[in-house]
Amino acid sequence: MPRTVKHILCVLPVIAAFAVLPAVYENHLLLFNFMIFMMLAQGMNLIYGFTGYLPFGYVGFFGAGAYGFALTVVHLHAHPLLALLAGALAALALGVTLSPLFRLSGAYFSIANLGAALAVYQVVSNPNLESITKGPYGVSLNGVFDPTFAYTTTLAILAATFGVIVYVRNSHFGMALQAIREDSISAAMAGINVVRERIVAWLLSALIAGLAGGAFAWYVSVFYPETVFSGEFTIFAIVFSLFGGNGTVLGPILGVTVLYGIYNGVGISTPQYFQLIYGALIMLLVLFLPNGLASLLRQWGIDVP
């Protein structure tokens, strides 16, 4: 059986689970959040796992997607699916604007990306732009509120995201990205167009986060700038993909299932304890398990797709 088919068979049960679970489990918001975080973790995986660039302002794309969706609905009264497209375009536009950041190396890229995300947040939440963005007062999208439709669409986006990751994991494109990550100069010598491949990965990652943001805006339908630009989305995406194992198909899915599952299972009421546990977990991961659960499983002889 070719590897690609095997990988598709690995992610299909996850999609099936999200399709079936709403019928038997009534907390749909929780299921929805699981899907959102799986998308974000996979988007982070695509850019950090495969290219080695850590976008510390990843939430910028999520927020751009959410606001692209919301503003299209508010100002143009568009159909939600069209608005979702607008959200995706907003995230892509931000991605294109920020693509010059790839001229920077490692930490400089991360810092600049963080600065860019905060700048977008400051612009969106500025009271002077209230007539356009509703400023810091948030947007309300009662007109398009339709949780079932939004849930189904999100599931489709999730499936597409998994498809992209499986493709990247098994294609020439993904191999090229990993070659660039290991040594960009040698990769260029081997005939890989370093700049183009990186930008494509970056825009795909931005697209995933933008669609996730648009879907989030649609599903929750009332939100504030600080909700969709909250640094926690970036943190979650990094921690989940890091915990599961970057550069794999199943790693981020595993990370979200285990960590977000524990988080909701334990039901921590005080956010500070949660922050403390996550901070400590991040430190332990970096120091003792920088390649995540996947590397641990591989040591035990289990192949992680």
Partner: protein, 307 residues
Amino acid sequence: MFVYSLLAGLLFGLYFSLIGLGLNLVFGVMRIVNLAHGDFLMLGAFVAYWLFTLFSINPVPSVFISFAIFAVVGIPLYYLLVPRLLRGKDPEMLSFILFFGLSQVIEAVATISFGTSERSIPGGELGQAMASVESFFLGTAVDNGPVEIFGQTFPAAWIVSGFASGLAVLFVYLYLYRTRIGYLTRAVMVNREEALATGINVHRVSAIAFGVGLGLAALSGVFAPFMLGSITPAMGVDVTVTSFAVIVIGSLGRPLGTVLGGLIYGVSYMLMQSYYSSWANLLPYVLLVAILLVRPSGLLGRQVRRA
């Protein structure tokens, strides 16, 4: 208004240089990114706050106390985290995540212990300290109110903070350029491997630099209640981003370039506050991205681009 903004900008610029200095020292010596920098500043601010509230200790002595505490904390922390980190594949990137985790831990512990309420120290305390120093030298009583420079009046707390920041920067200069350990530190900054080959105890030099870096963060925290407004456990992230803007303008990895960065940042911040106050919050981020794109090595910098 222009002269006022300019002078206030210079005072704040000195302070911003101090904020960035510790971060830049740590990056320069160890090539690791201390994302918890702002949180150490916050802790220093709380040391000053509690010393003042519980024992009525004036912030001026607290400067030395904060510095000493965190310089001493920094050395074991270095040995705990950094050597293991440097063995990894991509220490710069991993340090980013690691210190981010540390920043979350510090913020969480501080919130659990201190709560989320905003706290401050009355600005008159610094004025008081300045007035007593002045009257000591002049031999006459001096009042502790606002101070007039070039026809503009400024709170005494700003003057003291700016002056003390300048003094601290001077001490860092002396440490780096006039002591043996500073000489070794600069050797490690230029080339870690060669320094190791020459027989320099790189870990010892780095540990001290790390301690000094954290100490400087905590020290600048003492002035935070006067310069940055009230203090809360969550203030760290904003401070870290501001420090990055400052040191990127100057030059990453060159501690004294920070002074230039701080002054430029301070003056432009004050001008923004005076003329476009509603957009002033945007400044650090836009400046950060713009400088990184146009001149990633900073105004005084060496090459950082790769690929």
